[in-house]
Every structure is written in C-alpha cells, then in structure tokens.
C-alpha cells in the first residue's frame, strides 16, 4: 500500500442507542473515523452493522447519542443533509435504479451538483445543457476508473451481480463524497470479483483520499485493507483497534467462535 496520510477525526459517533420498539439494535456505541482511513465494522449477523451505517447517513434516527461529522454535532442527520455534507453509500442489497442505464444511474449521483431548474432542463438551454455536459464528463471519468465503459448504456437490470455492485460504487463516487459507506461491497462475489472490488476500494481511497467505512464479512479482506476495525455483537461494541489487536481480542474470538 502506498504512503497515505491519515488525518484528524472526521466522524465521531457518541453513545448511540437505537431501538425499534423493544428491540435494541444498538446500545451505547461510540467510535470515531479519521480522515482518509479505511475503517471496517464487523460482527456476526444481526450485530447492528447496517443499522450503524443507517444512523450515520440519517436513514435511522437514534434515540440517544450524537453524530459529529466535520465538527458539526447532530442528534440525528436527515438523509439529504448527509448527502449534502458529502456522505455517500452503497447498500447491502443492491439499490440501483433498475429501469435506467448505467450512465443514468451514475448521473443521478451528481444530482446535488446540478443547479438548473426543471424549466431550464425542459428547454435544454443554457445552464441546463452546460451542466449536463460538465457532469457527464465527470461521470465518464468514474466510468473509466471503474472500468464500466462496455456497459455504459446497458439498463442495469440486465447486468450481472458483480457489475451491479460496481455500478453502485460508481454512483456513490459520482457525488465526490468525503466519506463513503460501503455495506458489504463484496458479499456474494467470487474470488476474482472480490479482488477487483478490493482494488477499486483501495484505489478510491488512494486516489481521491476518500474516507471509507466498510462493512464486510470476509475476514481476509477486512484484515488486509482496514486501518482500524470496530467489532459489534448484539448491538454492543466489543472491540476496536488495528486489525491485529482485534484479531487477538478474546471478546471478539468469543463472539465469532463461541465460548471456549
């Protein structure tokens, strides 16, 4: 891995508790994410990993705790604010717009950069037209970066699973996010696809300096590419630190392998 400079804390979650009725999805979770780092969240099924991401980008609103992003403290974000502040994400179950082409899907990621009104767009005149072309250029760079040229105009519904995951990453990158939340980007992939995806994640981190929060079940991948790892189990944090520390943490071993 190349020389990367890990910066200051960019995101901090403090004492987050999230309940759905009587179900405690998250209990008193605190951790931080530093700028430019790859931070993984791991844990057995149902540990609350996806819920944690949903709290960070405002899909869920926790009952207690605060989220601090770029020095701004929030009780809860709304999704739009999160997007405006530069948090983008991908989903565990692919959430692409299946009726649209790859190009259009990625273009949707640029929507916050487009300022023209729908009337200007209807007339395809002046600013609307210029913005469309400028953003198209940026999108083409991302298409290039993620090697999606051959499927540019294909409707996403027709694509194989691995490519769909990549398109979703492209859509998230199109927003030029400061922080990227990846929810199991490699789930269900074969070894080669996983390697490709790993490379794209590392390249993103490397070239754009994007901070990445990653949920992943493949321990090999997690231990290889993460700078630091948070471990959740039943909605509680049971470990936090560099991959090696976490690997040898007795609580983590217990959660994964059972009591011994």
């Amino acid at each position: 891995m190349s020389e990367r400079k890990i910066g200051d804390v960019i995101l901090k979650v403090d004492n987050i508790s999230l309940r759905f009725g009587g179900v405690k999805a998250l209990t008193d979770i605190s951790f931080d994410v530093r700028e430019h780092e790859i931070r993984s969240i791991i844990g057995p099924n149902g540990a609350g990993k996806s819920s944690m991401l949903n709290v960070i980008n405002g899909v869920y609103h926790p009952q207690e705790g605060t989220v601090t992003f770029h020095g701004e403290v929030r009780r809860d974000m709304d999704t739009h604010q999160a997007a405006e502040h530069g948090i983008a994400r991908t989903f565990q179950n692919i959430a692409l717009f299946s009726g649209m082409s790859v190009l259009d899907n990625i273009m949707t990621g640029r929507n916050l950069k487009i300022k023209s009104s729908f009337v200007e767009q209807a007339l395809w005149f002046g600013r609307a037209r210029r913005e469309e072309m400028e953003n198209r250029r940026v999108v083409e760079e991302i298409i290039d970066f993620l090697q999606l040229q051959h499927v540019r105009k294909t409707p996403v519904a027709r694509l194989p699973y691995g490519i769909k995951k990549r398109v979703e990453l492209a859509r998230a990158l199109a927003a030029e996010p400061k922080m990227l939340l990846l929810d199991e980007p490699m789930a269900g992939m074969n070894v080669e696809e996983k390697q490709d995806m790993c490379r794209f994640v590392l390249d993103t981190n490397d070239q754009f300096g994007t901070t990445i929060v990653l949920i992943e079940h493949d321990m090999g991948v997690v231990m290889d590419i993460s700078d630091r790892v948070v471990v959740l189990d039943y909605g509680k944090k049971i470990g936090d630190g560099a991959p090696d520390e976490v690997r040898n943490n007795p609580d983590v071993i217990k959660a994964y392998l059972g009591a011994h």
């Binding site: 980008n57 899909v59 999704t79 739009h80 999160a82 997007a83 405006e84 983008a88 994400r89 989903f91 959430a95 692409l96 717009f97 299946s98 009726g99 649209m100 259009d104 273009m107 949707t108 990621g109 640029r110 929507n111 916050l112 487009i114 023209s116 729908f118 767009q121 209807a122 007339l123 395809w124 609307a128 037209r129 469309e132 072309m133 198209r136 250029r137 083409e140 859509r171 927003a175």
Partner: protein
C-alpha cells in the same frame, strides 16, 4: 442494411446525448415533421382532421402527461380527465373574464391551474402508493367534475352546463377550419413533446425514475422525495391541463364537465399501457392505436355486413383483450415492440 449506424462516430458528449443519436432516425423525424406540417394539411379531408388527427394529437398529449406521472415517476393516477377539465375550464374562465387575454396564454394558465390542482391532489402520494394512490386520485376525478357541475361560477351560470368555446384567435388570425386547428394542435404538441423529452433526459427526469425504481436510494443520494413527486404531479397535470383545453377548444368546440368523465381517464390509462409505460414515443403510439381502433373496427364491420351496433361492443371486447394481452405479454407496450424491431433492423439481414 439501410438502418445501420456504422461510421457514425460521436466525438463529444453533446453528440452522444442527442435525442436521436442515429442519423437515420434524425432524417426520419425531420421527414415525419415535414409530412405532418406540410403534406398532411394539403391532402387530408376535414373528416380526417376532426375525427382522427386532432383527437389523436390531443390524446397523445394527455397520454404524455399521464406517462410522466405513471411511467416515469411511478405514481398511479386515475384522475387524468379531471386535470384536463381543470385546464379547459381555467382557460375558458381566463378568456371570459380577462379582456384581451391571448388564447395561448390562457392555455398555459389553464395548464398552470391544472398543475396547482395536481400538486394538491398529489399530496397523498407522499404517504401512500400503488393502488391506494390510484384510489385517492379517483377522488380527484369525481371531486373536480362534481365541483365544475355544482359551482355555477365555473360555467358562467350556464343553465345547461354546456358552453360554446370561444373563438381561437392568435395575433388576428382566426383558427376556424379543422385544418387550421390541426396545425395549432400539432405545433403545441410537438413543442411540448420535445420539452418532455428534454426533461426525461436530464436531472429532473432521472429524479422521477430514481424515485420510481428505488426511493430509499434516491433519498440517500440527495433527491428530495417530496419535491420530486410533487414536480411530477405538477408537470403531468400541466400537460393534461393543456390537453384538456385543446380538447375543448379544438376538438369538441364546447366546454362541459361531462366530457371529462372517468371513461376518458381510463382511455388515457389504456393508451399509456398499450403504448408503453415510461416512453415518450409510446404515448403517441398508444394514442394513435386507441384513436384508430374504433375507426378500423367500424370499417371492418361495414365490409363484413354486420349490424352497426356490433361496432361499439366489438370495440369494448377488443380493448379488453388487448389490455390483457399487453399486460401479460409486453408490459412495455408498443414502444418496446418498436425498439425490438429497430434492434433487429440494425443487424438485418444478419442474425447477429
């Protein structure tokens, strides 16, 4: 062999995102417009204008409106005719009550009024979807027609509720004959279709489709769901409103609430389904199909010597069968068939 795009290279994004990226398509569209604007007015009979071409264009516009809402933004609506009625009555009242109101401005204002009503009745879409939304737009249909019948102000205290539409006059030129009305309708429809195409290929259209396909993801990306849905309702209702005004002024010649009943809403929904959900071209194909079907059937009935009463029943039966056929076999309608045909033509005469 003719329909081949070999040798046509796009060297800019602008060229690549043209409405018709293939040169042959562009020539075809120019030819079609020339025929529609020049050849047809020279050749067609008044019957063809007022019984086929004008209703076809007006229904195509209304279908386009519904297609924006249902096909692109994914919001079901059964209130299309109600929005048309709002457009027609608003135009009528603007022309009646404001001295010297230009017709085209009145049509636009009629569309704007329809858009406002559309936004109001689109509010339930923020909480409900699918069939439940369809049921709530059904309320629009009944409410608007009821309102126009019951409040005498809208019909200018006309006792019968049927009002003769005002003369259409633009810059001193009177549109009296079917031919002139056809040209007016054609010009308006052509411009509005182009604008619709522009919308669906830019951000506003992508926001509609994003909300249609996966609303959570759309929200996370930064689209505002409420604004997107209400824009779709507004734009859709605007199109329907203008179509409604044209329906009254250029087709019926009268402004009456009963011309905008639930039947019309359903007809337009059928046009969307048969033509192609989420397709601008499909709106035209669907409208053409459904406007022409009764004409063709009556010709068939005439030549087979069946009694004339058979025609209307036959029409209903064929409609029903076709709707079922399209829903099962080709949910994307005629537009999809057209597209498949074009794909095939690109390779013809080779199999791959």
């Amino acid at each position: 062999m003719i329909y081949r795009e070999a040798g046509q290279f796009k060297t800019s994004y602008e060229k690549d995102s043209q409405i018709f990226p293939i040169a042959q398509d562009r020539y075809a569209v120019v030819a079609l417009l020339l025929i529609a604007f020049v050849a047809v007015p020279l050749m067609a009979t008044p019957y063809v204008f007022s019984a086929i071409l004008i209703p076809f264009l007006i229904f195509a516009l209304a279908t386009l409106g519904l297609n924006i809402l249902t096909g692109y933004a994914g919001q079901m609506s059964l209130g299309t005719a109600a929005f048309m009625a709002v457009g027609a009555f608003a135009s009528y009242n603007f022309m009646l009550r404001i001295e010297g109101m230009p017709v085209l401005v009145a049509f636009v204002l009629g569309g704007v009024c329809a858009a406002i009503v559309g936004i109001v009745f689109g509010l339930p879409s923020l909480r409900i979807r699918g069939f439940y939304l369809a049921a709530s737009t059904l309320a629009t249909q009944f409410f608007v027609v009821w309102c126009l019948t019951k409040v005498p102000w809208f019909t200018n205290n006309s006792s019968s509720g049927v009002i003769t539409a005002q003369q259409i006059e633009i810059l001193g030129f009177k549109f009296d004959t079917p031919q002139e009305k056809y040209l007016l309708v054609l010009a308006i429809v052509a411009i509005m279709a182009l604008m619709a195409k522009n919308m669906v290929r830019s951000t506003v259209g992508r926001s509609w489709m994003a909300v249609r396909d996966m609303d959570v993801a759309a929200e996370v990306i930064g689209f505002r769901i409420m604004r997107t849905k209400l824009t779709a309702f507004a734009v859709s209702s605007f199109y329907c409103g203008v179509a409604g005004a044209l329906y009254a002024y250029c087709y019926l010649g009268t402004v009456e609430p009963e011309a905008y009943n639930l039947d019309v809403s359903f007809r337009i929904l059928f046009m969307v389904i048969i033509g192609g959900v989420g397709s601008i071209l499909g709106s035209f194909l669907g409208a053409a199909f459904i406007v022409l079907l009764p004409v063709v059937l009556s010709v068939i009935v005439h030549y087979t010597g069946l009694p004339n009463s058979v025609t209307s029943n036959l029409e209903l039966m064929v409609f029903g069968a076709l709707i079922i056929f399209f829903l099962i076999v080709e949910p994307h309608g005629l537009a999809r068939l057209w597209q498949i045909g074009k794909e095939k033509l690109r390779l013809w005469p080779f199999p791959h």
